[in-house]
Amino acid sequence: MNKLGIVFRNSDNRQWIGLLYVSPFIIGLLVFKMYPFLASLYYSFTDFSLLKPEKFVGLSNYIYMFTKDPLFFPALKATLLYVLFAVPGKLAFALLIAVILNVNMKFISVYRTLYYLPSILGGSVAIAILWRSMFTKDGVVNQFITGMGLPAIDWFGIPSLALISISLLSIWQFGSSMVLFLAGLKQIPKDLYEAGTIDGASKLRMFFSITFPLLTPILFFNLIMQTVNAFQEFTAAFLITNGGPLNSTYLFGLKLYQDAFQFAKMGYASALSWILFLSIMLFTVIAFKSQKYWTHYEDGGKF
């Protein structure tokens, strides 16, 4: 208690109690996060199926992955393409609609709710089923296309289109990012726009010199969270396209699932999960490093 008195001058017993309140989290962190995290690193250096005890094999899982596994690079490529389609598409819609929605108007909250709805349902099996039925050959998407006199499209038969169809499912759920942009837009001081108007700036000009720079911190946050999620996408690839055609939608999450839980290659799948983790970390580090070139954290005083 004496030692505590030195550290926190005003402290009393109440401060130690904080640790007690936080203790469920500490236990959960150690047991359900830290332990599995470190264990998967260890397993990634082992040959381990559920039937026999694990055997340390050094780097051979990683070597196999990069030199022999015929599905590793296709999975990596599909995942990167998916991230490159889905994340910018989602953020672009989220930003565009947020800017249009950011006015004082009746019923705005109705629209906001409506646009948010896909984010609520999007990850469910029901919506995966819906997507699969919509994009099949005689599905509703093709009925619209043929209705306009164009030939029907084989969405799940052509590699690039299959990837686009599952990316669209992700883009459809732009509402959650949009809500954050809206919150950011509300914080931009009105007088910046007034000053811009007096200076004769066009709306477009004001968007690029006022709105966009002030939203970059939120854009950054959305970018990180959505990319981390997109790297791990599983449900859409598993239920809608099942990885096909020609592995064009064989996302990393799907490969991980199959190796671990269908082929019981726990050691190898752990190595895969670490490559996924390192890819996400690499992206995150690059994003954080690049921040100083494009995000804007000062108040808007410079304009």
Binding site: L19, L20, Y21, S109, L117, L121, S124, Q232
Partner: protein, 277 residues
């Protein structure tokens, strides 16, 4: 001129909104259509309303019907939501209101786990649960949530508690409240929006969860709705789309109800606490 812009804006938002929601409306309408009509017309109004798809779909094709899967989903989701909210509140209170050694360390670790991909811990978690004998039970969801393993909610509640003035706590101390009583009697009554947001999010996420259920729950008897739906998708080789769609509609109904009941709390809520959905 400005009214013209307003009209333009309003019509764009409306048309775009309709396109966005069309798939959901189409799903609902398709579930009431006779089977041959589902893939032959873009019309939203069925030529005649049928509910046989609901009746037959509900019975299911195998030993267990959707009454089992629905019950299972509630048995899985409700305790998980309660455990998540309770544990997150207690932990968030600890972080928001007390200064204790190691606080900064654990706070940073919490933020770090916010970005820790589920994929990297899923295999050891599976093995851990297997050794503990929890596989094929809902404990795989409930027990981790009792230990505040959802940093998203802790962070959200910390942000909320920080917004409540500390004077409230201090006057309660003067009145002889202990710290737990301050939480339950002073802070929680003021935290309804944050608590509702957390509960709604966790309900929807757990209800819709597919990946974890697929890995942890193996026996059909214990399938939650997501696995039940997926099974009907497999066995039918899609000859009975009408039933699959009817059950899909039913599966999203609880989320829709909760979303519309709580949306005023939570679309605002996440916007003000400033974090993803």
């Amino acid at each position: 001129m400005t009214s013209l812009i307003r009209m333009g804006r309003l019509s764009f938002l409306t048309i775009f909104g309709i396109i966005l929601i069309y798939p959901i409306i189409w799903l609902i309408s398709a579930s009431f259509k006779p089977l041959p009509e589902i893939f032959s017309t873009v019309n939203l109004i069925p030529s005649r309303f049928v509910i046989t798809s609901y009746i037959n779909g509900w019975k299911g094709s195998g030993q267990f019907g959707f009454n089992t899967f629905f019950t299972n989903s509630f048995l899985l989701v409700v305790p998980t939501v309660i455990a998540t909210v309770l544990s997150s509140v207690i932990v968030a209170y600890g972080f928001a209101r007390f200064r204790f050694p190691t606080k900064n360390l654990f706070f940073s670790l919490m933020i770090a786990t916010l970005m820790l991909p589920n994929a990297v811990i899923i295999i050891p978690s599976y093995l851990l649960f297997r050794n503990l004998g929890w596989l094929d039970t809902y404990w795989t969801f409930i027990i981790p949530s009792m230990f505040a393993t959802y940093p998203f909610f802790i962070f959200m509640l910390i942000q909320f508690f920080r917004g409540l003035p500390r004077d409230l706590d201090e006057s309660a101390v003067v009145d002889g409240c202990n710290s737990f009583k301050i939480l339950t009697h002073i802070l929680l009554p003021l935290s309804k929006p944050a608590l509702v947001s957390a509960a709604v999010f966790q309900f929807i996420w757990t209800w819709n969860d597919f990946f974890n259920s697929l890995i942890y729950i193996n026996s059909v008897k214990k399938y939650p709705i997501s696995l039940g739906l997926r099974m009907s998708l497999d066995t039918s080789s899609i000859s009975n789309w009408d039933q699959v769609m009817a059950m899909s509609v039913l599966s999203i109904v609880p989320c829709l109800i909760i979303f519309f009941l709580a949306q005023r709390y939570f679309v605002e809520g996440i916007a003000t606490t400033g974090i993803k959905g």
